[in-house]
């Protein structure tokens, strides 16, 4: 690695079910301009742009980076488009950081977005594929059996998922950018209709319109701000969709991705050495599952951390301080929002959902059939 990489600018839109007030270029410009302002930079200072979004069909535009180039001031510059399913926001940030670390560019703007109101993601995710049974069930229908399997294996308390929903929504109340601002009690969450057992309506993420952007720079330019977030580790891992030997409840790709970033950052005990984490939890039960997969809890004990309140703001291992995907889910941007929120924590700019004295934070995203993983570790120390 030729260079160190730091996050010096972060921006995001207010996320809503439908941002009819802005076009797609308008949406990404809000996030990009905010990130540039934060970094004390302008479009002309940017060397290259890396953009990520989930399937093009969600917006009905093929390779939207072509049409969005103008809005990002990309003329005459390299613009690069990443797409790795639900993990795309994370993978996009990883590619952007690699351009800096490899010494290819000094100042990179990275952007991720989704304008889900342009279509219906649930049905876009339920296509009829030749020679395969049609799974007309959206993402929840795919993941519900994995959660049932987790509950059986771990003998988990049945309220765990609802506790995650209550906690993440309480966190989301502190985040003015979050889509959902719901002050929900455990009783209210439990009373919601069951969609895909064990996932109630109240335990699912919303469909959001939104964008997020970050400015990543090398050592020389990190001085522009007093509080850069240093990228201390990045990793991606993939495993096959169809393979009898894989464990979709606790995927090996996720374990290896986590081990890789911890090794790079010199972390041997994630629970004690990491101050907080933003992890990709689109359905409530993924919190305990990922706590185990990422090594914050021993296998079978993730649900206890949640039930004991250890993942709340103010407790010893705050998870999804921003409210997470459970409050805000512009799919293509959701991964980068996790990465950006981790960076906000170590920069000390997370406002009302700031973890006191956070120095080391994890950003995590996953996609496909729990098979694509992207992570980074950011730190206030170089």
């Amino acid at each position: 690695m030729a260079e160190q990489c730091a996050v010096i600018g972060i921006g995001q839109t207010k996320h809503r079910e439908s941002r009819r007030d802005v076009s797609m270029p308008g949406l990404i410009r809000i996030a990009a301009l905010q990130a540039l302002e934060d970094a004390d930079m302008a479009f002309e200072d940017v060397d290259a742009i890396v953009i990520g979004t989930a399937p093009d069909m969600f917006e009905g535009i093929m390779m939207p980076e072509l049409f969005l180039a103008d809005a990002l001031g990309a003329a005459g510059k390299p613009i690069f488009r990443v797409h790795t399913a639900g993990s795309v926001g994370g993978s996009t940030a990883v590619v952007a950081s690699h351009l800096v670390q490899a010494g290819v560019h000094e100042k990179v703007l990275t952007v991720a977005f989704e304008k889900q109101s342009e279509s219906n993601a649930m049905w876009a995710l339920s296509p009829a594929i030749p020679f395969q049974p049609q799974l007309v069930a959206g993402a929840g229908g795919y993941f519900a059996p994995l959660m049932r399997s987790y509950i059986r294996r771990a003998d988990a308390h049945p309220d765990t998922g609802c506790m995650v929903a209550v906690k993440d929504r309480a966190h989301g109340m502190l985040n003015p950018y979050a889509h959902l601002h719901l002050d929900q009690s455990l009783e209210e969450v439990k009373a919601a209709p069951m969609l895909w057992d064990p996932i109630r309506y109240s335990e699912t993420c919303p469909s959001s319109d939104g964008a997020v952007a970050m400015v990543l720079v090398d050592d020389k330019h990190a001085k522009r701000v007093k509080n850069p977030a240093w990228v201390r580790g990045t990793s991606v891992r993939t495993e096959r969709t169809f393979f009898a030997g894989r464990d979709q409840v606790n995927p090996r790709a996720g374990q290896q991705c986590a081990k890789d970033v911890y090794d790079q950052a010199g972390i041997t005990n994630p629970l004690s050495e990491i101050d907080c984490a933003e992890i990709y939890v689109p359905f409530s039960w993924f919190e305990p599952m990922w706590l185990e997969n990422l090594g914050f809890a021993e296998e079978g004990l993730g649900w206890k951390m949640t039930m004991e309140g250890q993942t709340k703001l103010g407790a010893n291992m705050p998870i999804n301080m921003s409210g997470g995907v459970m409050c805000t889910n512009p799919i293509g941007a959701s991964g980068m929002l996790r990465f950006a929120e981790a960076a906000r924590q170590v920069r000390g700019t997370a406002d009302k959902h700031q973890v006191d004295g956070a120095k080391v934070a994890v950003g995590h995203a996953y996609g496909g059939g729990s098979q694509f993983f992207a992570m980074w570790i950011v730190s206030s120390e170089r």
């Binding site: 690695m1 030729a2 797609m24 989930a54 399937p55 093009d56 069909m57 969600f58 917006e59 009905g60 535009i61 093929m62 390779m63 072509l66 049409f67 969005l68 180039a69 103008d70 003329a75 005459g76 510059k77 390299p78 613009i79 690069f80 488009r81 990443v82 797409h83 790795t84 993978s91 590619v95 690699h98 351009l99 670390q101 490899a102 010494g103 290819v104 995710l125 296509p127 594929i129 030749p130 020679f131 990793s235 991606v236 891992r237 993939t238 495993e239 096959r240 969709t241 169809f242 393979f243 030997g245 894989r246 995927p251 090996r252 790709a253 991705c257 496909g368 059939g369 098979q371 694509f372």
Partner: protein, 351 residues
């Protein structure tokens, strides 16, 4: 900066319809062939990256199925771009610069037989102001070709000469789809598809897949006698709106060529991703290629044009000449978007 090279290349022959091949069946043969050529397998690969588009099969996440064509177990470091496979090669090149891994597998696949491609490509246009007009890719390219004629830079005869040469070159390429000895006068008698473009000035629709293995430093030398070293590589874009561009030139290709160092030495051959005949003329000028440069010895995109793969195949074809010792310095080019909006250029050298 670390030296990275192309060490092997494999492709499926481009055909109009590749029946009943799904993503995994396209990907598995080419990736294993590319790895076999240098005696390695997936376990030896440090990073894997692919390029494809969901708009050909018409379903979201089609690239996910391609992973099933790989031996992705134990889990692999992997990424995907919704761009031509040549851009996946660019991401893999960046990844290898880190120094912790030495090899990368790059692949792409595209089946034009699954979709009405010229109409689908209208979806690359601005969704608010242009898409509703139904500007298919042939009509858009025709606007560019007419602008070129109006500027006095080229004539329809020049377009025909480009088409004739490419398809003649393709006679020596077993993987090409459209090949033969055509005459310029014969082509100029074809009816217009979209004036001034005739059928032969437009690319065929092809199904194909391709794979390339990249290796860095000593690892490259161990895998092959004469690696095709990537001496320079760069990509640039232009404003999206056709009205904001001078369609008769390609400033983004010119800039990318400068950054990649195309003009720093004698170029033996260039593989240009010019789906339409007139675009080759624009690119030659933008890259500043001398008259003695062999252009598209493979026949180029006019002989075989599998969307998302045609660009990676340009890189592979250019590298093949260097790997075989038939060229010392080759240029590879890929384009993306309507009327050459986005261009990627690399210089490959033998020593």
């Amino acid at each position: 900066m670390r030296n990275v090279a192309i060490v092997s290349f494999a492709q499926l022959p481009s055909v109009r319809v590749s029946h009943a091949t799904d993503e995994a069946e396209l990907v598995q043969p080419v990736t294993s062939q590319a790895m076999n050529q240098v005696g390695i397998n997936q376990d030896d690969i440090g990073f894997t990256c692919s390029g494809s588009t969901d708009y050909l099969p018409g379903r979201p996440f089609s690239f996910v199925a391609a992973v099933d064509g790989l031996k992705a177990w134990p889990p692999i470091r992997e990424s995907h771009v919704e761009m031509d496979g040549a851009f996946a090669l660019y991401e893999a090149w960046v990844r290898l610069l880190h120094g912790d891994i030495d090899t990368a597998l790059v692949f792409s696949f595209g089946k034009c037989s699954l979709a009405p491609v010229p109409d689908v490509l209208n979806l690359q246009n601005d969704p608010y102001y242009v898409q509703p007009l139904g500007l298919d890719s042939i009509s858009a390219a025709a606007l560019q070709a007419q602008a070129l004629i109006d500027s006095g830079k080229a004539t329809e005869r020049d377009f025909a000469e480009v088409a004739v040469r490419n398809r003649k070159n393709a006679l020596a390429n077993p993987n090409a789809q459209i090949k033969g000895n055509f005459s310029v006068d014969e082509l100029l008698k074809e009816p217009y598809l979209s004036s001034p473009l005739r059928k032969s000035f437009c690319p065929p629709l092809s199904d194909s897949a391709a794979a390339i293995v990249l290796a860095a430093g000593d690892a490259a030398k161990k895998l092959t006698k004469r690696p095709a070293w990537i001496r320079g590589i760069d990509h640039r874009t232009e404003p999206h709106s056709l009205g904001q561009r001078d369609l008769t030139s390609s400033p983004s290709a010119k800039l990318a060529a400068e950054k990649a160092g195309v003009g720093d030495g004698k170029v033996d051959l260039a593989e240009l991703h010019a789906p339409f005949a007139h675009q080759e003329l624009i690119l030659r000028e933008a890259l500043g290629l001398a008259d003695d440069v062999s252009i598209n010895p493979s026949g180029g995109a006019l002989a075989a044009n599998s969307l998302m793969t045609a660009g990676l195949i340009r890189f592979g074809e250019a590298a093949s000449h260097v790997l075989a010792g038939k060229a010392d310095r080759a240029v590879a080019h890929t384009t993306n978007g309507v009327c050459l909006q986005h261009n990627l250029i690399a210089v490959l050298e033998g020593e």
